[in-house]
């Protein structure tokens, strides 16, 4: 706990508006402690990464924020309201895409709106806009199995954007796509964070990816699960996407994170 508090007192001075806050959340699976008294805050309009070795509870935390899992104790506050289940202010991008195989791209992207009872013409107009935004214009009638992994995840992203929620939760969204597609995705994600006024919570196991895309990185450590450190890169974000990977601060942070994680990776 003292470690967590210390990390927060380091991070606080920026004094941003908080969109999502996690307060003392614990979660056990039987006798396995997935999360223990976790406290963490996510500033509005920024991208926060949850980074850590496998088993540190990062996906569990994300699903609790989404309302898909119930915490054993503690609470989640999103825009001032406690989370009791899935809500319209959050949308989720899944690691395995979770697209409906029997529905075409248009219906998949509009699915969130369909569940909300939005009229067909309206939801398709909205979906068409986001399909174009994620770069899938022309594929509206394609079925998921006809698309590459990267394109499938673009569909998943468009579906999450189409419901226009304030908070976007991304669960290792690029882990199932190839390296080159992933780099393109990361650049697109930076543009998305800059253009859409949304709060992004991003789970990843890639240190480089976390440092590249994040305004704030929360390092989670396992056994017991805790936030060990919060890192806020300061200088390289404004230098343009093509310069980030050779910025000294970027390289330092990557090294520093690896140094603190290496003893937990078996």
């Amino acid at each position: 706990m003292s470690q967590t508090n210390k990390a927060f007192s380091d991070a606080r001075p920026l004094d941003q508006e908080i969109a999502v806050s996690v307060r003392g959340v614990s979660k056990n699976y039987g006798s396995v402690v997935a999360l223990k008294d976790m406290t963490l805050e996510f500033p509005r309009g920024q991208l926060t990464s949850l980074l850590g070795p496998s088993g540190c509870g990062k996906t569990t935390l994300l699903k609790i924020i989404a309302g898909l899992l119930k915490p054993d104790s503690g609470e989640i506050i999103v825009n001032g309201k406690p989370v009791v289940g899935p809500g319209p202010n959050r949308s989720f991008v899944f690691q395995d895409f979770a697209l409906l195989p029997w529905a075409n791209v248009m219906r998949n992207v509009a699915f969130g709106l369909e569940l909300r009872g939005v009229a067909k013409s309206e939801r398709e107009a909205k979906a068409a806009k986001y399909i174009k935004d994620v770069g899938l214009g022309g594929f509206e009638k394609a079925y998921p199995h006809e698309l590459s992994g990267g394109m499938r995840q673009r569909v998943g992203l468009a579906r999450a954007l189409a419901v226009d929620s304030r908070v976007l939760l991304l669960d290792e969204p690029f882990s199932a796509v190839d390296e080159q597609t992933r780099r393109k995705f990361q650049e697109d994600l930076l543009a998305l964070v800059a253009n859409e006024n949304k709060t992004f919570i991003f789970v990843t196991h890639s240190i480089e990816e976390a440092v590249y895309v994040s305004d704030q990185i929360a390092i989670l450590l396992p056994r017991p699960s805790r936030v060990s450190e919060i890192i806020r890169p300061t200088s390289f974000r404004s230098k343009g996407v093509e310069n980030i990977r050779r910025d000294p601060e970027y390289l330092d942070i990557v090294d520093e994170i690896w140094a603190s994680l290496r003893s937990y990776v078996e």
């Binding site: 898909l68 809500g87 409906l100 195989p101 699915f111 569940l115 579906r159």
Partner: protein, 253 residues
């Protein structure tokens, strides 16, 4: 491509009927007519209308039984698949039904329900229902968890999950259960006519065997097989119409 598959189908039909004709001409048995003789008998029955009259009788228990099995079977299957408690309650009944030697149970059915339509419908249901129920329930239970989770995260209510995720995801297996169930239903309908009271197509089979009119007997058997195949094809067409994307493969597989 369609041309090629049509050619192959015709070729396979030609081979089977050719083998039948040769076997009939040898003859392998006095009671085995040639293909041409059987078709001639079928044509005769078609022109004098007796086959239509027979199907009027046979289709009654078949259609009623298959309809009951489909509606009740899919309904119960969904229920069993969704609720563990109902699995405990109902699943054993259908497993026993599937394993039971039906011919041995027919006397019991006749004692309870007489020799009329009711008993025959029961026979069709006992044949058709278990496989429909069991495949529906296992399909429902194997709905990809990630799709259900996705729907929940996009605010799906329970009926949304059932109608928009569970049923479409289960539909290929439900339909394959339906195909098996319907073909078992055909077997049941003929069995009922052979074992309970000879009516319809079962009557043609029994009667022509007793007077050694084997071509007619085989014509009747042939016609029921053709009807069953046509019906199964129709079912497949319906499936493709209802769930268009399903023949296009699964993304997460």
């Amino acid at each position: 491509m369609t041309n090629r598959s049509l050619m192959l189908k015709l070729l396979s039909a030609f081979l089977v009927f050719g083998a039948w004709e040769i076997a009939g001409r040898i003859p392998i048995s006095y009671a085995f007519p040639t293909f041409v003789e059987s078709m001639a008998a079928l044509a005769r029955m078609t022109f004098d209308g007796s086959i239509f009259h027979a199907y009027g009788e046979t289709l009654k228990p078949l259609i009623v039984g298959v309809a009951i099995s489909t509606v009740l079977g899919i309904g119960l299957g969904l229920w069993i698949g969704l609720s563990e408690r109902f699995e405990w309650l109902f699943s054993p009944i259908f497993i026993v039904m599937q394993a039971a030697p039906l011919a041995a149970l027919i006397p019991l059915l006749v004692m309870a329900y007489g020799i009329g339509l009711t008993s025959k419908v029961f026979v069709v249901c006992i044949m058709a229902m278990p496989v429909i129920v069991l495949s529906t329930s296992s399909a429902v239970r194997n709905t990809p968890a990630s799709l259900k989770e996705m729907a929940t995260s996009f605010l799906a209510r329970d009926h949304h999950v059932l109608l928009k995720i569970v049923i479409p995801a289960a539909s290929p297996v439900i339909f394959s259960g339906l195909r098996l169930g319907v073909s078992a239903g055909f077997i049941g309908a003929i069995l009922a006519e052979l074992k309970i009271t000879p009516t319809g197509v079962g009557d043609i089979i029994t009667y022509s065997r007793s007077i050694a009119d084997y071509p007619s007997m085989y014509a009747a058997i042939f016609s029921i097989i053709v009807l069953a195949v046509l019906f199964l094809n129709l079912l497949e067409k319906i499936e493709n119409l209802l769930f268009k994307g399903n023949d296009r493969g699964y993304v997460t597989d």
